[in-house]
């Protein structure tokens, strides 16, 4: 099968600053991939290019054999770093909104997950803590039957117990043929759910490997390898 995401000589410049410099990358289907790199390495830029929020300066980005556009947005589910949902809305209204917007949105699944996480669908977002808001947003994203999930820092704002719960939500609710790309620097927390990793630094791909290979060849965790590769 063809890769779900492919970058060919992909570059992005913000003015004179180069955020991505000619990267070549291919991500397979049915994998959970960690996009790992220090702050300002280009993680969010790559994710935003993949969902069409940014356009490349140079090169190509292909998703499911198509250039990024309305057709690929149908099959890409994106969790942004910051929330874009309206604070005054109730969770159940947002769910209706999403169901209207995305034909692959599964309302039942969303309500099921809310129930499991003890979130009341009648609550308004503004009454919720930062962590609960993050959970709601993740539920919305994972309730779509997408081919590619792009999660930008999904566990940044929640406590370690909730983190475990969120990771659990991710692995138990994603569609097994789908691919999940998770960008984060909380590596040790997500390491055990990853298949593959992409190390990115200064806008270039430093390493791609499977987690098992890293552990058996290097005899250390991805977290330890990350600290070594990106030592300041």
């Amino acid at each position: 099968m063809s890769p779900i995401l492919e970058c060919r000589n992909l570059s992005k410049k913000y003015g004179y600053k180069e955020a991505l410099s000619g990267i070549d990358l291919s991500v397979e289907r049915g994998r959970i991939v960690g996009l790992l790199g220090p702050n300002g390495s280009g993680k969010s830029t790559l994710i935003k290019l993949s969902n069409g929020l940014l356009t490349p300066t140079n090169g190509e980005l292909i998703i499911n054999n198509m250039p990024v556009g309305p057709e690929t947005k149908k099959i890409v589910s994106y969790l942004p770093e910051r929330t874009y949902l309206n604070n005054w809305m109730k969770v159940c209204d947002i769910i209706d909104f999403f169901a209207d917007f995305y034909e692959n949105f599964d309302k039942n699944k969303a309500y099921e997950m809310l129930k499991r996480l003890n979130i009341n669908a009648k609550d308004r977002l503004k009454t919720m803590s930062k962590g609960t808001k993050e959970k709601v947003q993740l539920i919305l994203v994972m309730s779509r039957q997408a081919d590619l999930y792009l999660l930008d820092e999904p566990i940044g704002g929640v406590d370690p117990a909730a983190r475990d719960y969120i990771l659990n939500t991710i692995i138990s609710n994603y569609n097994p043929d789908g691919t999940i790309i998770i960008s984060t620097h909380l590596i040790s927390d997500i390491e055990q759910i990853l298949d593959d990793i992409i190390f990115i630094q200064n806008g270039t791909i430093v390493k791609t490997a499977s987690v098992d290979d890293i552990r058996s060849q290097e005899g250390k965790s991805v977290d330890a390898l990350f600290r070594e590769v990106f030592r300041c």
Partner: protein, 123 residues
């Protein structure tokens, strides 16, 4: 049984070890049906692909077998389970003797100590 995973070894090999331990300790009995890959993955908080890999490897070793459509089962080969139990016990003993050697006890001394300690122990 909590799935505690160490960071310096591939996860799938550790999952294999846990399931093997489950088999020899009687948590999974010969002929028992194993939970689904998804449920096991959730229990261990790992990626289902990784769990799948661990189970495929156990299947290759003959510790579990797949029955078409109805799932995965624990081997009914009691001899194999006994052999596995013995080989894991041997590993632990070797490791123990190595540790004792590092802190300065010969095999003979170690055995003497074990006998002495065993008399005082009440498990």
């Amino acid at each position: 049984m909590a799935w505690e995973l160490k960071s310096d070894r591939p996860i799938y090999t550790q999952l294999q070890d846990y399931i093997k331990l489950g088999i020899i300790s009687g948590r999974y009995l010969p002929g028992d049906k194993l939970p689904s890959v998804r449920d096991l993955a959730e229990e261990a908080a790992v990626n289902p692909n990784t769990m799948q890999k661990a189970l495929a490897e156990l299947e290759r070793l003959g510790m579990v077998y797949t029955q078409r459509t109805s799932g995965r089962f624990i081997t009914e080969d009691i001899k194999m389970i006994e052999d596995l139990k013995e080989s894991i016990a041997k590993e632990h003993i070797t490791e123990f003797f190595e540790t004792m050697k590092k802190i300065g006890f010969s095999i003979q001394e170690t055995i003497q100590m074990i006998e002495k300690e065993a008399k005082e122990l009440t498990i």
